[in-house]
């Protein structure tokens, strides 16, 4: 028989003013398993807590019920109280007699009846309470950052600054991401390379950061504090240690030219290449698909010309396995492919280009040396039409969201055009202008008033390709007129979308993504960099479109979270989590499929001697205790500690016979 002590608090007159406390105590004494019941004016005060401790000791109680304010107020307080008396802290239940009784009922008799019932409820539950042990896990004090755009770079630098080791994995041959492709950056118009390159170099030189470029994460096992990750370092065919970055190989490579991804396809590159001159590391890779040697077995020019003997055609992909305590996902974005916009020419009209292509053109280090040339004939365009919200805010194209940066980058590009070519005309079609950052609205105003960029409110219906110009059919809804513009070039502000294969990575990590494919944060307001998987964090555009200032701010926030995690001695995990009884489990996978946190593994287990079956197992450090699995298990094989079926059943019985 359990020995429960019941302690009813007056809370001054807060409870006692409405509830006849003595009656509650009297009734509690008659309940099964209750050894003592008493009341006190302020149970949470020091004398109150001491009363509980002393009674536990004197009466050798093994369970406690406190009738007081909401458990959301003082459950923890009283857990610590009984722990001090030598009890397991989870052998406590609270009857909420204040928020749920005395403060919401005025009629004394019925309020007292209800209070009696709630105490009975708590006693019934506590009878079934098991002692629970706090769970601890070790922490591997290293972080993995996936993606080397500005988000990943900033996060890696900040984590390293906190004194932890970081591995930065980048899929491309160089870090830098999209920011390295940009010319100037709004709203201050500082040059993107000038502010980014020093950070890239800092990454390379930081002794706490291991940089793995041309590499990808292939497998992730484990849980917070203890992730085990397989990283595939793709064969570069150039030795990282020998190469001195002289570039002779690229110069001499006779391969057919490929469109350069870095230059947004407006220029070409060789088979052996570094994406751009300031690349970090500044070591080329051989793209197997374009290399003649790999196709025909003949060539080897690069090997011949290399002064350092760095070219090595026999290199193979290499899998590196490492342990990390935390993972930061910073995989960035891709641009919407406008070839699904038939009305804008299916991406086939040469003089209809994207904003990113314009960035490459306008960049003095870019393939046109900073000159804007229209692709069809290389002519300098006079009238340029910009169309906003292409592949954004367009339900028909399956992209309902706003991409957040294109209003601003369009304004920036229109400004740059007017600055480069004072005789040019820039016309922007917009639906709304979203300029809610610091200095952004002022920037837009400047572009309109000082730089004379014409803004027309409306979407463009179609671009017609004429002999030597484009005809843009739009509307200005403000004046109510259709407009037709003879343009030399059209720039589409294509929206941001999740990186291709972003969903694969999500599945590896068990993190969620929204209907648009962006990774989901744990809470949109209060946990914007955490994910539902403990120990996995987000930074940058992989979570949602954002500009550089927001990306950097988020990355630093992420680094702070990682620091907070890694700085702990060990991890303490709430014990109110699920547990499987393998004898009852049928291996149906219901719980496995339902768990929002991927906390369940199906594992071959020896159930009885000689009987091995695949049954569910709860990953202790991953489970958050939501109970979704429990409610779905037909075999009643899985239960949630602290909220077990039996506990709830007992409570139901008590209330149901009123």
């Amino acid at each position: 028989m359990s020995k429960t002590g019941v302690f009813i608090c007056h809370c001054g007159s807060n409870i006692a003013g409405v509830v006849a406390v003595e009656k509650v105590v009297e009734s509690a004494k008659t309940l099964p398993g209750v050894k003592v019941a008493m009341d006190y004016k302020y149970m949470c005060s020091d004398p109150g807590q001491n009363l509980i401790i002393n009674t536990i000791k004197e009466q050798a109680l093994d369970r406690v019920v406190v009738g007081s304010c909401s458990p959301r107020m003082h459950e923890n307080t009283f857990r610590m109280t009984i722990e001090r008396a030598g009890l397991n802290p989870y052998r406590l239940e609270i009857a909420n007699l204040r928020e749920h009784v005395s403060w919401v009922h005025s009629e004394k008799a019925s309020a007292t009846d209800k209070a009696i019932k709630l105490v009975e409820l708590a006693v019934a539950k506590v009878r079934r309470n098991e002692p629970l042990q706090k769970i601890y896990a070790e922490i591997e004090k290293r972080a993995l950052v996936i993606g080397g755009g500005i988000a990943g770079i900033q996060a890696a630098l900040d984590i390293a600054a906190n004194g932890y080791k970081v591995t930065l994995v980048e899929r491309e041959p160089s870090i830098g991401g999209r920011m390295s492709q940009l010319d100037k950056t709004f709203p201050t118009m500082d040059c993107s390379a000038c502010i980014l390159t020093p950070k890239m170099v800092a990454v390379a030189q930081n002794k706490d950061i291991t940089l793995l470029t041309y590499a990808e994460v292939e497998q992730v096992h484990g849980y917070v504090g203890n992730f085990e990750v397989n990283i595939n370092k793709k064969a570069r065919f150039v030795s990282m240690t020998k190469c001195i970055g002289c570039g002779v190989c690229t110069e001499k490579c006779p391969s057919k030219k490929r469109l350069s991804e870095f230059n947004a396809n407006i220029a070409t590159r060789k088979a052996i290449y570094t994406p751009f001159p300031q690349a970090v590391p500044n070591i080329p890779v051989i793209d197997k698909d374009s290399c003649m040697y790999f196709a025909t077995g003949k060539c080897k020019v690069c090997e011949k010309v290399c002064p350092a003997g760095a070219v090595d055609y026999t290199q193979e992909d290499e899998i590196i396995t490492e342990k990390f305590g935390a993972i930061v996902v910073a995989t960035g974005y891709d641009l919407y492919d406008h070839s699904s916009y038939g009305e804008y020419g299916y991406g086939e009209i040469p003089d209809v280009i994207t904003g990113l292509q314009l960035e490459r053109m306008i960049n003095s280090g870019g393939p046109t040396g900073g000159h804007i040339k229209r692709p069809s004939d290389g002519k300098e365009p006079e009238t340029v039409v910009f169309i906003q919200c292409v592949g954004s805010r367009d339900d028909a194209k399956g992209k309902p969201y706003c991409s957040r940066v294109c209003c601003m980058y369009t304004a920036k590009q229109a400004l740059l055009l007017r600055e480069h070519y004072p005789n040019s005309k820039a016309i922007v079609f917009y639906m709304d202008i979203r300029a809610a950052g610091k200095g952004y609205e002022e920037f837009i105003q400047r572009v309109q008033t000082e730089y004379g960029v014409l803004y027309l409110r409306g979407r463009v219906s179609r671009i017609y390709e004429k002999k030597d110009h484009l005809l843009v059919k739009g509307v200005d809804t403000l004046s109510g007129n259709q407009v037709e513009i003879k343009a030399d070039m059209v720039v589409l502000a294509t929206g941001l979308k999740p990186k291709k294969e972003a969903q694969n990575l999500a599945q590896l990590l068990h993190i969620g993504y929204d209907q648009n494919g962006f990774y989901t944060e744990l809470h949109p307001k209060l946990a914007p960099v955490e994910t539902q998987i403990a120990g996995v964090y987000l930074a940058g555009c992989c979570q949602s479109p954002k500009d550089i200032p927001d990306t950097v701010a988020q990355s630093s926030a992420t680094a702070a979270k990682v620091g907070a995690l890694l700085s702990k001695e060990r991890l303490e995990i709430e014990p109110m989590i699920s547990e499987v009884n393998p004898l009852l489990c049928s291996g149906c996978r219901m719980c496995y499929n339902a768990c929002p946190y991927g906390a369940i593994e199906m594992e071959d287990t020896e159930i009885r001697r000689g009987e091995i079956r695949c049954v569910a197992k709860v990953l202790v450090s991953v489970c958050k205790g939501c109970g979704v699995c429990v409610a779905g298990c037909y075999c009643k094989a899985i239960d949630l500690k602290g909220w077990t079926d039996r506990q709830l059943m007992e409570q139901i019985k008590v209330i149901s016979y009123c």
Binding site: S70, P71, R72, N96, R98, E99, H100, V101, W103, V104, H105, S106, E107, S110, A111, D113, K114, K117, L118, L121, G512, T520, L522, Q532, M576, A594, P596, Y597, K624, G625, C626, G627, V628, V630, A631, G632, L640, W643, D645, L648, M649, Q651, I652, K653, I655, S656, Y657, C658
Partner: protein, 132 residues
Amino acid sequence: MEKDINIIGFLCNWCSYAGADLTGLNRIIYPTNIKIVRIPCTGRMDPVLIMEAFHNGADGVLVSGCHPGDCHYTEGNYYWRRRHAVLKRLLEFLGIDERRFQATWVSASEGKRFAEVVKKVVDDVRSWKKNE
């Protein structure tokens, strides 16, 4: 005096339970007929528990959690919503009046709303009991 009606409220710890606490902080009065059982999340609600409540003689059951999209455990209330739809049909089939089983969303800041919900449920269950 005839026995008054008796309702069990299963409230999610993060939203509705906190909402009910707020009702108290704001001293909004509601009928005593409801007794609240705290649950971690509506996703924990096994339909069997609700059947059990009716089986044991409860007059009404209320389940309340976070608004869709606000679940503390991201998706628990969606599971509940799906289970609820099935359960509703089952209870209908078993001849349990729909007024006796209600589900709703109440957030931690909707103290006033919680009182309204309780009043409505109590009224509904009373009206059912009268015609019984």
